[in-house]
């Protein structure tokens, strides 16, 4: 005995991003904690030792936050002017920071007053860092110089005057105490050796360099400047490896995920892009509310901290495993149906006697109405507000089913003004959607046929009919344009392909390609 076959809801391919391992990983963060600072946040640095506090440099202060606190555990305020680039030493005991007033200050993390003050630069110091032997400090300044300082006796060891513009970024080698790299607004990156007086390698980035990053192996260097992110191979003498241009504003900050597999770049265009470090393709994307100036990842990617121009610090913590499990459990929102399923998956044992009972088919409301041939009611159900707005494919499927049964006209006829307005509203929203157009266009024609006589009686319906007409005219123009482009592309492809001996194989290929690009006549695939 054949049972009722429910209306088939078409499953359309989801446009936009695909669910990949990466999206799952990077989406597994809690809602961000947002903290208001006193000014634009220029630098964030995580302490290398547990509990991995992080220093946030904003305006004239440096706040040190604990991993889970929303209040700073420590505040360093002894700056005369805007502070820059607060960095921890590798043992997490000391912190160095530059300042607009050209003085570099060294702090003990537990104390308040500066331990040392390094004077010598003539302009603001934007770059500070410790060398890997922990006894020296690298600084870079707007006076075009970069200097090495000795910590114990606060003296300048060396000064390099090779850059011809502001030095705005720099990084020291973690493996060799003598090597460090600086990037400047004169578009160059320079690798210095403290044992020599000159730079040993110079690379041209092409844009003012904003940020630098060394891979843990220190064979590769990543630089960001302008809209470009470039990767350089230091072992091959600074040969450019990859150039990426995925942002549409200046890239301000770079950082690496803890396993070294993903590279993150933050930009003034409010996006953070995640790249795969093997093929340098973007695998994920974050959005923030304002332009991002600084970005840092906690060890093990426990949290993502971003500082923005509107002085908001955004901290996103990773969800714990039980939390993520909880969320997926919450998504199954209808436990009432599960009650009925209870015990259904019980496997009978060998001696059990099975008493069979007719299984009741679970049908949606519109299907129940269709089953009893209540066509108007089923259309009403399918046009209910929630369905219409959230699941238009259900509404479209019911309209299609009614059309197949030849009863769509009956279902559409004899409605009042309000209902008609609702339906027209739905049509205006979905008629030009290529997924639904094939079904809704005949339905729209049918509505016009049915209600042709009463046009002009209701201002509400008339307004919507006008809107519908406008929409259709615009859509026809678009299609016209697309066809023109298609024709142009066809000629281009036909002329660019080499002429083969057999006649016209080229045109056929061009057709195939062009159709794919236009996307209108492309068949829609769906996995079921």
């Amino acid at each position: 005995m054949a049972s009722f076959k429910p209306t088939k809801i078409q499953v359309y391919p989801k446009l936009g991003e695909k669910v990949t391992q990466d999206t799952l990983y990077w989406k597994n963060y809690k809602a961000p904690v947002q903290i208001k600072e006193f000014g634009a946040i220029t630098s964030i640095d995580f302490s290398p030792v547990a509990p991995h506090n992080f220093a946030v440099t904003a305006f004239t202060r440096i706040h040190i936050y604990g991993p889970f606190s929303q209040e700073p555990v420590k505040t360093l305020t002894r700056f005369k002017d805007t502070a820059y680039c607060g960095r921890f030493r590798s043992d997490g005991q000391l912190l160095v920071a530059g300042c607009e007033d050209s003085v570099v200050r060294l702090f003990d993390v537990s104390g308040k007053a500066a331990l040392r003050m390094f004077r010598g630069h003539t302009k603001a110091v934007h770059v500070t860092d410790f060398t890997s032997d922990r006894y020296q400090i690298l600084t870079g300044s707007d006076d075009y110089t970069c200097r090495l300082w000795d910590i114990p006796n606060a003296t300048e060891l060396n000064s390099y005057r090779e850059h011809t513009d502001y030095v705005r970024c720099g990084v020291t080698s973690k493996l060799n105490r003598d090597l460090f790299i600086t990037g400047s607004y004169d578009h160059t990156l320079k690798l210095f050796d403290a044992r020599a007086d000159k730079s040993v390698m110079t690379m041209d980035h092409g844009q003012p360099v904003e940020s630098l990053l060394l891979y843990p192996s220190e064979g590769l260097l990543v630089s960001a400047g302008g809209r470009h992110v470039k990767v350089w191979d230091l072992l091959k003498g600074g040969q450019p490896l990859v150039s990426m241009k995925n942002h549409h504003k200046t890239v301000t900050c770079l950082c690496l995920s803890s396993n070294g597999q993903r590279l993150l770049s933050a930009s003034l265009d409010r996006h953070v892009k995640v790249y795969n470090t093997t093929n340098y393709k973007v695998v994920h994307n974050f959005d923030y509310a304002a332009s991002i100036l600084s970005l840092a990842l906690a060890p093990n990617d426990e949290s993502i901290v971003a500082g923005m121009t509107n002085s908001i610090l955004s901290i996103k913590h990773r969800k714990s495993p039980e939390e993520s499990a909880e969320v997926s459990g919450q998504q199954r929102r209808t436990p009432s149906y599960r009650v009925f399923v209870k015990g259904k998956n019980y496997a009978p044992k060998q001696d059990d006697y099975l008493v069979s009972k007719p299984v009741k088919q679970h049908l949606a409301k519109y299907d129940k109405q269709l089953r009893t041939f209540n066509v108007s009611n089923s259309l009403d159900t399918a046009l209910a507000t929630w369905t219409r707005l959230r699941k238009p494919e259900i509404t479209v499927a019911v309209i299609k089913e009614l059309d197949r049964r030849g009863t769509l006209k009956n279902a559409l006829a004899g409605r009042d003004e309000q209902w008609l307005a609702r339906l027209l509203n739905f049509l205006i929203g979905n008629l030009v959607d290529p997924r639904f157009a094939a079904v809704l266009a005949p339905a729209a024609e049918m509505i016009l046929d049915v209600y042709r006589r009463v046009v002009g009686q209701s201002p509400l319906v008339d307004r919507q009919l006008l809107r519908l007409q406008e929409l259709l005219e615009r859509e026809i123009d678009y299609q016209q344009d697309l066809l023109e482009v298609l024709g142009m592309l066809d000629t281009l492809f036909a002329s660019s392909l080499p002429r083969l001996e057999v006649p016209h194989p080229g045109t056929s290929r061009a057709n195939g390609l062009a159709q794919g690009e236009a996307g209108t006549s492309r068949p829609q695939l769906q996995a079921t």
Binding site: V19, S508, R509, P523
Partner: protein, 804 residues
């Protein structure tokens, strides 16, 4: 052993079981129904076919239990005989010859002694008194015409209780009038109302009361009472059906009335309380007949999709007996499922049926469209129009189509993966609107490794598309479009992959384009003006370098793909070309006037391997090679091509018969199989002998009767040996006949040679043809001698065996 390599066309089953209403036996254990030329006995509990009552030589038109002996059954047939059977053992008891054996086209049985026959021109109701005699063969003499001008629809004739009072519809009177002969003079009840569409469809008489129920085309049922008094009859109307009532039946006690129609709902009305009714909905398809068992416990409904449903007292469906569904048309080609070796074709609306050729049984129906089927006239439904299987049977592709009025056709391409666990196909991908116009052809690539399957579909919108299964890392595999090709804006007609899948041939009107599926380059074009290509086929195995094509201008062409030139061509009107997947052979059906010829050939040479004139009447519409279960070992040239597979084909009988004669099958599934020679077992031997034209009755009886009804073996032995002697005489005749045939075939070949010489053809082929022709007859003569010797030897051996 007598018929060496005699190729015959045999009917292999798939006949209608819903043409007449089934009969349930008194103990409700068996169900009998007419099925083509046979009467089939089914068990009501297991749905299995228990017996096959064979004997009629034409369509069986009526089955009736013998009222005096409930273990016997009468059957009547268009061949003019009435036969009496014992259905529990499946044996024939008696044959009665009817008088009008020439003109009977439709007949049905009503009573023990009355056989109603309706002649073709007259539609007369005739009572035939079957004489009671002990003879096997009895000729009926007593005949009396009861009524003339009756309806040809058997449902419109009914019998009342006790007296012979059959109310009938008379076409002479205004349509919708009931005549009923009370005693002698027929009375007329007029049921016609003005403007009503109430033509009478069916009739049933109450078993106890004087009440007649009639079903009408407008869906109304009328209950007539008091009709014995002229002009004083009364009637009540029952209305539930919205379409014509096709069958009515009272239960044996008369308490309930059953009705059914196009809605596929069985309605049970209470007699005298007509407002109360029960329904059994969703029986699958339109009800054509209703039968009730004599004890009233079982109801049977025949359905339009060749199905009989057995229902227990109108509550529960207990069994379904499903035959081969003869849809309105077989729009999908005949296909063979590579896994189950079953035949696949259109079945119920929106379904595909998998039909086992070996067992003549429907395996299962696969729902392709997966939509609720609405029974309504004039509604455009989805139809499955194309099916394709890939070589290992892992994937199936189907195309369904719906053409709404004044709108774009809706086309869906579905790809089904075989699921090992459920042993069935599971939907994998649905592509809605794969093409903008009708899909003309579809095929899978024949790649042997089966690593990457590829599907190519050609459509009238001027494109052909290649579909592939990319392996996606995150989701399950699903098919997507890989390539779109066209050629000068022409519409592609057919597409075909070569045996190794390295070449794709697509025909665009008169041009054949050959593509490489690996790089999608157009390799070459072949053309044979002036007419469009109708069929394309690559050679297999050793002949894979050849591409065969037929054109609309009656040309069969063979191209060599290595030289890209025409190898040979011949002028013949090929209606169907197909290749055997297991051998190099190809079969071409050639439609002459009124009949169809079959030629089997290898693409490498233009000489046919075998040719059969007039295999059947009418045009062969579909055909398929089905692999045999076990390979035959025959060395004879003319039948070698059937060693590995059997050829099945479907014909369309263009007989001009009134459509209301429900008996005529529009399609006949014919199987072609070779009579095989075997000498090892007695039973097999006689089974082979049985269908001989002069097939001895004794052997037939001996082997068909159960042991306990037969006389002792010693009596039978002499009879059996005698029958064997008869067959020797037959054999000599047969061989003479064979010689004659050989000569005639030679003539045919000569004439064909003439035909070929007219057409342009490469030179080297013709000498080979000549030599082969001259060699063939000598070889067969030698073979014949050998054959005769073998025959003599055999009989000696058999006689020894029997005497010992």
């Amino acid at each position: 052993m007598v018929e060496h390599g005699d190729i015959r066309v045999v009917h292999r089953g798939g006949s209608k079981i819903n043409s007449r209403e089934p009969v349930v036996t008194n103990d409700s254990r068996f169900l009998l129904c007419a099925s083509g030329e046979r009467v089939k006995v089914f068990s009501t509990s297991t749905e299995e076919c228990v017996h096959d009552l064979r004997g009629h030589t034409d369509l069986v038109t009526g089955v009736l239990l013998r009222p005096t002996n409930h273990l016997q059954v009468y059957s009547c047939s268009v061949d003019g005989t009435v036969r009496l059977w014992d259905f529990t053992d499946g044996i024939l008891i008696k044959v009665q010859l009817d008088y009008c054996s020439v003109c009977v086209t439709c007949s049905w049985l009503m009573f023990d002694i009355v056989c109603m026959c309706v002649c073709a021109e007259l539609f007369q109701l005739v009572a035939v008194h079957l004489p009671q005699s002990g003879d096997q063969l009895v000729e009926a003499q007593e005949l009396s015409a009861v009524l003339s001008n009756v309806s040809s629809n058997p449902a419109a004739t009914g019998f009342g209780r006790g007296v012979r009072a059959p109310p009938l519809r008379s076409p002479n009177a205004p349509p919708g009038a009931i005549t009923y002969p009370k005693t002698d003079s027929p009375h007329l009840l007029t049921t016609q109302r003005k403007g009503g569409k109430n033509t009478l469809m069916c009739i049933a008489c109450h078993p106890k009361d004087d009440c007649i129920a009639t079903g009408h085309e407008d869906g109304k049922i009328r209950l007539w009472r008091n009709f014995n008094h002229k002009k004083e009859y009364t009637y009540t109307t029952l209305h539930w059906h919205h379409n014509a009532v096709s069958s009515l039946r009272f239960t044996p006690e008369g308490t309930n009335l059953l009705s059914g129609g196009l809605e596929s709902v069985l309605v049970q009305w209470r007699y005298n309380q007509e407002s109360e009714r029960d329904f059994l909905p969703r029986l699958g398809s339109a009800i054509t007949h209703i039968a009730v068992s004599p004890d009233g416990t079982l109801f049977c409904t025949s359905h339009s999709d060749n199905k009989i449903t057995i229902i227990q007292s109108c509550v529960k469906v207990s069994a379904v007996i499903q035959g081969l569904v003869n849809g309105e048309s077989v729009r999908t080609d005949l296909m063979v499922d590579p896994r189950s070796k079953s035949l696949v074709l259109n079945g119920k609306p929106g379904h595909l049926q998998f039909y086992s050729l070996q067992r003549d049984k429907l395996l299962y129906n696969l729902d392709i469209v997966q939509q609720e089927y609405i029974h309504e006239l004039g509604l455009q439904q989805f139809e499955v129009v194309k099916v394709a299987f890939d070589a290992p049977g892992n994937w199936m592709a189907t195309v369904e189509e719906r053409k709404p009025k004044a709108a774009e056709p809706e086309i869906n391409l579905k790809l089904w993966a075989f699921d090992e666990q459920t042993q069935s196909f599971v939907l994998n991908t649905t592509v809605s609107a794969p093409h903008e116009a009708q899909i003309t052809s579809m095929c899978f690539s024949q790649a042997a490794d089966g690593q990457t399957s590829m599907l190519v579909s050609a459509s009238e919108d001027g494109h052909f598309k290649a579909w592939q299964l990319p392996r996606s890392a995150y989701e399950g595999p699903s098919w997507s479009c890989d390539f779109v090709g066209d050629y000068r804006g022409l519409a592609p007609q057919c597409c075909c992959f070569s045996a190794d899948g390295s070449l794709l041939a697509v025909s665009f009107q008169e041009v054949v384009t050959v593509w490489s599926p690996a790089s999608w380059e157009l390799l070459t074009t072949l053309s044979q003006p002036p007419k469009a290509i109708r069929d394309l086929c690559f050679g297999r195995l050793g002949c894979s370098k050849y591409l065969m094509g037929t054109t609309a201008s009656n040309l069969l062409c063979c191209w060599n793909l290595l030289t890209c030139s025409l190898e040979w061509s011949t002028s013949m009107d090929v209606s169907l070309l197909l290749s055997d997947p297991l051998t190099e052979n190809m079969a071409a059906f050639c439609c002459q006037a009124e009949s169809t010829d079959l030629f089997v050939f290898k693409p490498s040479e233009p000489r046919p391997v075998a040719s059969l004139k007039a295999v059947c009447s009418g045009k062969v519409t579909r055909a398929v090679f089905a692999p045999r279960e076990e390979m035959l070992e025959s060395c004879e040239e003319s039948s070698q091509w059937l060693n590995r597979s059997q050829l099945y084909f479907l014909t369309q009988h263009m007989l001009f018969i009134d459509d209301s004669v429900a008996m005529t099958p529009f399609y006949l599934l014919l199987g072609k199989h070779r009579k095989q020679e075997n000498q090892d077992s007695l039973t097999r031997l006689s089974a082979e002998l049985m269908p001989l034209p002069r097939g001895s009755l004794a052997i037939k009886e001996l082997l068909q009767s159960p042991a306990h009804v037969l006389p002792s073996t010693s009596v039978l032995c002499s009879m059996f040996v005698e029958s064997l002697l008869v067959s020797v005489a037959d054999g000599s005749e047969e061989s003479k006949h064979a010689e004659e045939e050989m000569e005639s075939e030679k003539e045919e070949e000569d004439s064909e040679g003439e035909m070929e010489s007219r057409t342009p053809r490469p030179e080297p082929a013709s000498p080979g043809l000549q030599s082969a022709e001259s060699a063939a007859p000598a070889l067969t003569k030698a073979q014949l001698k050998e054959l005769r010797r073998v025959k003599k030897l055999d009989h000696g051996w058999l006689a020894d065996l029997l005497l010992s």
